[in-house]
């Protein structure tokens, strides 16, 4: 198991060494997000603005307007959940000549239900919907530390506003070090012909486990890591719809407006097939100690068992 925040911290220092314009901002969560290590390495390029997320976002915008590449990070609940006006009007909307938005990277940790003991108030299950709807933003959810590292490097090089949501908990490795990550390109982790499971973040592992167990029952599932939620990979989704005839999505986000919605929007315009969305069922989370988090996820049906169950059910609805 590896830790996304440690990987993010390491990657930041690396991109900070490569590009002197990279600056890092935090809002009193810099030890938790481990960005304080960047501050030790580059004290002049590190700003802790206190518990002031609106300020965090807008100062980043000012820095970006002046040629810097700010990485601003804190917990998911306090970023899109709290500062959406600043994200929209100070980062996404201002478009200097021929560019789209300002060059700010918003990185959150503690997305979704797996935040655990802090409870429903801190479990951000709306951020993907919020960020996806804002023009000019691109939205990533990495499934492991390889993705975190590669996407951090990608964002440092690619102009424009990005949102990347990490999970609090440690995650198993999904990808090999050689895996290529491209904006708007999903990754096929497993091929299959009977159904496609589309996942992102912590549900990618569940999807793979579900596919494995279904294989034993003779059901062949394709598994996609849809880390790039916006832009979404229309091509890979259309192909999946045509070739497998049905789709199950899984995410730790409200089923309204999240990755599953993005998939449904795409497929309904290209090659409509039955889709089942797994995620928070339009209800808030609640406290769960770390060893109880699986129970919380189970309550919302976010388990490999439920994914497998839904695959079987949706196959009967194929057109």
């Amino acid at each position: 198991m590896t830790d996304m925040r440690s990987e993010y911290s390491k990657s930041l220092i690396q991109v900070g060494k490569e590009n002197l314009n990279v600056v890092v901002l935090g809002a009193d969560t810099t030890n938790s997000l481990k960005t304080s290590a960047f501050g030790k390495e580059f004290p002049d390029r590190f700003f802790n603005v206190g518990i002031a997320e609106a300020n965090l976002v807008t100062i980043s915008a000012g820095l970006a307007f002046s040629g810097k590449i700010p990485f601003a990070s804190t917990y998911a609940i306090f970023l899109p959940g709290r500062a959406v006006d600043q994200i929209r009007n100070n980062i996404a909307y201002p478009s200097p000549s021929n560019k789209k938005g300002l060059n700010v990277k918003l990185i959150s940790s503690h997305g979704g239900l797996t935040v655990g003991p802090d409870g429903g108030s801190h479990q951000q299950i709306e951020d993907i919907a919020i960020m996806r709807v804002i023009p000019n933003f691109r939205v990533f959810i990495p499934s492991d530390t390889v993705a975190v590292s590669k996407l951090t490097q990608l964002m440092a090089k690619e102009y424009g506003p990005f949102y990347m949501r990490m999970a609090r908990s440690k995650t198993p490795l999904i990808h090999s070090e050689s895996q290529d990550f491209q904006i708007g390109k999903g990754i096929t982790l497993r091929d299959g012909s009977d159904c496609t499971i589309v996942a992102c973040g912590i549900t990618v592992r569940m999807a793979l486990e579900a596919a494995e167990s279904l294989q034993l029952e003779g059901i062949s599932c394709r598994v996609l890591d849809m880390f790039s939620i916006k832009p979404i990979d229309n091509e890979i989704l259309e192909k999946a719809a045509r070739e497998t005839g049905c789709i199950v999505t899984a995410e730790e986000h409200n089923i309204i407006g999240g990755m599953g919605s993005a998939v449904a929007e795409s497929v309904s315009e290209s090659y409509p097939v039955p889709i089942k969305r797994i995620g928070a069922q339009d209800m808030f989370g609640e406290s769960a100690r770390d060893n109880e988090v699986p129970l919380l996820l189970e309550k919302h049906g976010i388990t490999s068992f439920n994914i497998a169950k839904q695959v079987k059910e949706i196959r009967s609805k194929k057109l």
Binding site: N55, L63, S66
Partner: protein, 555 residues
């Protein structure tokens, strides 16, 4: 470099007129807040900001962040005046396809911040200021925030951050106009103290009730408090802010919402509403009718001129008229540049040096160096060549150019070519040489003759009336076209200079109101007269204007 007073004033006037035109054509927009910050922006654009309209992205430019983005017409107008785009483009304000959006937008080259959602511009400015420090750039960030906007918590988040990171390359203005969309700020959310009743005038006058400065000081900022429509105070505050190291500066500028248009002043209704097109000609005439009062200190105690300066300060004179007499061009002798130099440190109020001396071309340099902001020389002792030399020297040093004619002198033909760039024309209404003389009545007729010549030759400066101006005749002198009034005995000779100046202003105001009613009648008859009167809803204005209209026989 001196103040360049008149050039700044002229640019501000042009910008205000453009705001009126643009918002009227758009049918919406925010004139009130554009006018309260008009002098601040005018002063920044005309003197302090480093920028290049041909190269808006010049990396060493100063950055101007209009956090109170609804005042976009004010920003765009100033940008047009200094050449970012044609003034005619303002006709597209708020229209489909325009670069001039309802709120400032990077779509328009030169705009540095997409304003509109309030409370964010200061944080953004902190970001720019931090970037400048990282890049070792010495450009400066100027930010304008509103007082209504200060309800937003993020303003105070930014205030703390700016102090923590010691961004002394950031200077912010608080446009303290006491009005936000719903009502007076002190009713909606007090920054100073809660307002009981509807009259903000007492609170505005009583400095002991202002607490906003203390707020900013306690947040660790360098705070400068000024009257935000006084160009010289804004100028001095910016200069002081730029030399203050280690802390950001907040210039709290006490302003009047809708400033310069009486019916908009202090009226919350004009926060976000455009004028009707039928009143625009009256409004433009009102804007053209700003006036200044300049006490002449030689009418006081010549042995204690320092004290006379102090009286002018307490009387809130617009500027101080300094009559320099050499005992040759005129029989009397007063003082020369050495005295002006001595007086200069006493005040930042502009010095209006009127040189009644022979061969001014030989001495004008001394008067620039002594700290004059306006220097006037006489037609009788200059010619095309010597005046040309003086004119150019003054312009180079950002000193306003004045030209004077004695009662018996007509404007010389050689001076016509200078008229478009002369800032001030003194039409003497007494024979110069001593104070206490009576106004020469023939001056009225002379002014009528002059006005057509001035118009023909594109004079765009201010006419100063000098000699025998008093409460009885100031109204008619204003109606003749004079906009600056030198007051000798009638001001400096009075016990209380402040009351004397206030009385002068009241008389001019009365005359101006009459002229505006005449204009209303001329273009729209009695209906427009009534409409114009009806617009004046704040305080006693409507009753006073009604009375003038009755006296004129309109109602």
């Amino acid at each position: 470099m001196r103040l360049n007073y008149y050039q700044i004033k002229k640019n501000i006037l042009r910008a205000r007129k453009l705001v009126v035109k643009a918002t009227t054509l758009a049918g919406s927009g925010h004139p009130g807040g554009s006018f309260s910050m008009a002098e601040i922006l005018g002063c920044l654009f005309s003197k302090h900001l480093k920028f290049d309209p041909q190269n808006p992205q010049w990396e060493d430019r100063d950055r101007l962040v209009l956090s109170k983005g609804h005042a976009a017409p004010g920003l765009f107008s100033n940008m047009a005046v200094v050449g970012y785009f044609q003034e005619s483009e303002l006709d597209t304000l708020r229209k489909f396809g325009s670069r001039l959006q309802g709120h400032p937008d990077l779509k328009c080259p030169g705009v540095e911040f997409c304003g509109g959602s309030l409370g964010t511009g200061l944080s953004y400015s902190v970001g720019i200021a931090l970037a400048a420090k990282l890049d070792s750039k010495d450009y400066h960030v100027y930010t304008i925030i509103g007082d209504g906007e200060s309800d937003e918590g993020q303003i105070w988040e930014a205030a703390m951050t700016a102090a923590k990171y010691k961004v002394d390359n950031l200077t912010a203005f608080l446009d303290r106009n006491f009005i936000q969309q719903d009502s007076y700020t002190e009713q909606v959310m007090p920054l100073d103290e809660k307002l009981e009743g509807d009259d903000i005038s007492e609170m505005w006058k009583d400095a002991s009730r202002w607490k906003t400065g203390d707020k900013w000081r306690s947040f660790g900022w360098n705070v400068i408090e000024i009257a935000g429509h006084r160009v010289e105070q804004i100028d001095a505050a910016i200069t002081k802010a730029n030399t203050t190291k280690g802390v950001p500066t907040m210039i709290i500028s006490r302003t009047v919402k809708g400033k310069s248009i009486e019916h908009m002043e202090d009226n919350p209704e004009w926060h976000g509403k455009a004028p009707d097109s039928d009143v625009v000609p009256i409004i433009n005439l009102e804007l053209d009718s700003q006036f200044m009062i300049a006490p002449s200190i030689i009418a006081g105690d010549m042995t204690h001129l320092e004290n006379e300066i102090k009286r002018c300060i307490s009387g809130r004179a617009n500027y101080i008229h300094l009559d320099v007499m050499d005992g040759q061009f005129v029989p009397n002798k007063t003082f020369d540049h050495t005295k002006i130099k001595e007086l200069r440190p006493l005040t930042i109020i502009p010095f209006d040096s009127h040189l009644m001396i022979n061969e001014p071309v030989k001495h004008v340099r001394d008067y620039i160096d002594a700290g004059s902001d306006i220097i006037t020389v006489h037609a009788e002792v200059t010619d095309e060549f010597s005046f040309g030399e003086i004119h150019d020297l003054l312009k180079q040093n950002q000193v306003s150019v004045g030209f004077a004619i004695n009662p018996d002198t007509e404007l010389p033909e050689w001076s016509y070519k200078f008229l478009p760039t002369i800032d001030q024309l003194i039409v003497m209404s007494v024979v110069p040489g001593k104070s206490g003389q009576k106004y020469i009545e023939g001056t009225h007729a002379k002014m009528a003759r002059l006005n057509s010549v001035l118009k023909e030759h594109h004079f765009s400066g201010y006419i100063e009336a000098d000699g025998g101006v008093n409460l009885e005749n100031i109204g008619s002198i204003f109606a003749d076209g004079a906009r600056v009034f030198v007051g000798g005995g009638a001001i400096i000779g009075q016990q209380d200079v402040r009351i004397a100046i206030r009385d002068f202003r009241d008389m001019v105001l009365k005359s101006r109101r009459r002229i505006l009613l005449d204009k209303a009648y001329e273009i729209g008859g009695i209906d427009l007269v009534n409409k114009w009167i009806g617009l004046h809803v704040v305080g006693e204005k409507q009753e006073q204007i009604k009375k003038i209209a009755q006296e004129a026989g309109y109602i």
